[in-house]
């Protein structure tokens, strides 16, 4: 085995893992607060990618500049989905909560198909082909930026939840819904905000991915699945777990290409899922039910 290649793959895996972590953070946040699994998560991410892609094509706005705008668009989308659909299904059994959200994913996916067509698109942004050599290891600049921004956004979300009043209300509602209602928190509104924040997080992650892989309407559900695996890996509803789980999955998928063809990378993530379910069903960091 070529040690340089291995090092290369490890670094690439970690960099990609940071973005996985960010996608999963949104999913974990939504689960942690409302106990709902957002099966439209990847599709929401794709929506943000198309918004960013549009701004790039129409206004030549670099994705890194449109990141906030695209995330804001998905924030609004998430807020509306929570207010109109998810708030109605919170008290139903889990199996019934799955359907409306899967449906939402299908609707978003087909809307993307309708608006932007089935083609794969790879916007050539200013940095998309730039690379950096560190000794024998080649690093894509856009991949490095994506990783750094993903970690920065993750830290911002942690600070938001720890320090701001809305953040504390989100944690309170996640901890004890009855208690939150009784101190006078408008829990429905906090739920809307939480779902929107989770959506915006995955939206931001999507924009970071834009220079790294071709965009198509059908890529969403792969990412829903990836995020789901990461969340189970780290512990359902555990935000640190989401980040670490993302890094682990990114690393595993990347290093596995040493032994397996790249098209089989999902074998790795599913095997990881099976192993975790067997030996540590509560996730690496423990989660909430």
């Amino acid at each position: 085995m070529d040690p340089h290649l291995a090092l290369q793959l490890i670094i690439q895996g970690i960099l990609l893992g940071g973005i996985y972590g960010l996608i999963a953070l949104g999913l974990s946040l939504i689960f942690g607060v409302m106990g709902v699994i957002n099966f439209a998560h990847g599709q929401m991410m794709v929506m943000a990618m198309y918004v960013s892609y549009w701004l790039f094509i129409l206004l030549s706005l670099d994705p890194y500049l449109s990141l906030v705008g695209a995330a804001a668009a998905v924030f609004v989308l998430g807020y509306l989905i929570q207010a109109t659909v998810v708030n109605r299904i919170l008290d139903y059994p889990e199996a019934m909560q799955v359907l409306p959200l899967v449906a939402m994913g299908l609707i978003l996916e087909n809307m993307a198909l309708l608006f932007w067509g089935p083609d794969h698109r790879s916007p050539q942004t200013a940095l998309s082909l730039q690379t950096l050599w560190v000794g024998p290891v080649m690093i894509d600049v856009s991949r490095l930026i994506a990783f750094v921004l993903a970690i920065a956004i993750t830290i911002l979300i942690f600070i938001f939840l720890k320090k701001t009043n809305i953040g504390k209300c989100i944690r309170a509602a996640a901890d004890n819904r009855t208690g939150a209602i009784l101190v006078g928190i408008d829990v429905d509104r906090i739920y809307n905000t939480s779902f929107a924040l989770g959506a915006a997080t995955t939206g931001a992650a999507g924009v970071l991915l834009l220079p790294l892989m071709p965009l198509s309407p059908h890529m969403g559900h792969d990412f829903t699945l990836t995020a789901f695996i990461v969340v189970i890996l780290g512990g359902m509803g555990n935000l640190i777990g989401a980040l670490v789980g993302g890094l682990i999955l990114g690393l595993a998928e990347s290093v596995a290409t040493l032994f397996l063809p790249a098209t089989l990378k999902q074998v790795v993530s599913f095997s990881l899922l099976v192993v975790i379910m067997l030996f540590r069903p509560q996730g690496l960091f423990g989660g909430k039910k």
């Binding site: 504390k168 309170a172 901890d175 209602i181 101190v183 006078g184 928190i185 408008d186």
Partner: protein, 234 residues
């Protein structure tokens, strides 16, 4: 101050309260006693706006709050310290208390109120940076009451504050309730500890099968033969 007028409350088709009326005046301690399932918690949950009365109305300071949102009801000065405490276990004691002050009116005086709460519950001050879930049952009850006080209520409703506590702590909690009352907060107390609660109550109501069957001053009720037999086992 609080006037509940003939409310009927249902869980689905099941009627939990029938034409319940009661009143809490400024500066009073009012106890509602009754056995498990009599509808005591239902009554408080309806006043808080978590449940809605199908008939009748709830007036607070001349405003009809029977259809108001819980956040509005809390803002107007009713704090509900619920059964089972319902604190936020992964947040610190201080954060739990901060969550009690949700509105501009209470946030403006938050530091002052916090100092008062710490004066009543020194234990909470000692434990302020500790996660609430690590507190003992008695401390969690104090935290729930402290969180309720952070809303600077005119009326504090307490649901089974002594449930599951050691006898010494029970007396302590009742002392604290009286202390809060002396500082000018009216109290609506729901208890299975009939003796203790009627002793500190100005007035009391007896709830059986969703209906008020008896009411009177705390002393009258303590001497009532039905209560002595059914609730005190004398």
């Amino acid at each position: 101050m609080l006037r509940v007028e003939g409310i009927d409350v249902y869980y689905g088709d099941l009627q939990a309260l029938r034409e319940v009326s009661l009143e809490v005046n400024r500066g009073e301690v009012v106890a509602v006693i009754g056995s498990n399932g009599a509808g005591k918690s239902t009554l408080l949950r309806t006043v808080s706006g978590i449940l809605r009365p199908r008939r009748g109305q709830i007036m607070f300071n001349a405003a009809n709050i029977s259809q108001a949102r819980t956040s509005r009801i809390v803002e107007q000065g009713i704090s509900h310290v619920p059964e089972g405490r319902q604190i936020f276990p992964t947040m610190t004691v201080l954060e739990n208390l901060e969550m009690g002050a949700q509105f501009p009116r209470t946030q403006k005086v938050q530091q002052e109120t916090l100092a008062q709460v710490y004066a009543i519950f020194p234990r909470l001050k000692e434990r302020r940076s500790q996660k609430a879930g690590t507190l003992s049952g008695g401390e969690q009850q104090m935290l729930a009451m402290g969180r309720g006080l952070m809303a600077r209520p005119a009326l504090m409703m307490l649901d089974e504050p002594s449930l599951g506590l050691a006898p010494l702590l029970v007396s302590k909690i009742f002392e604290i309730i009286q202390h809060i009352h002396r500082q000018g907060t009216a109290i609506l107390l729901i208890e299975q500890n009939v003796f203790h609660s009627l002793k500190i109550a100005d007035r009391g109501y007896v709830l059986e099968n969703g209906q008020i069957v008896l009411s009177g001053s705390g002393r009258q009720l303590l001497e009532n033969p039905h209560i002595r037999k059914t609730y005190l086992g004398l």
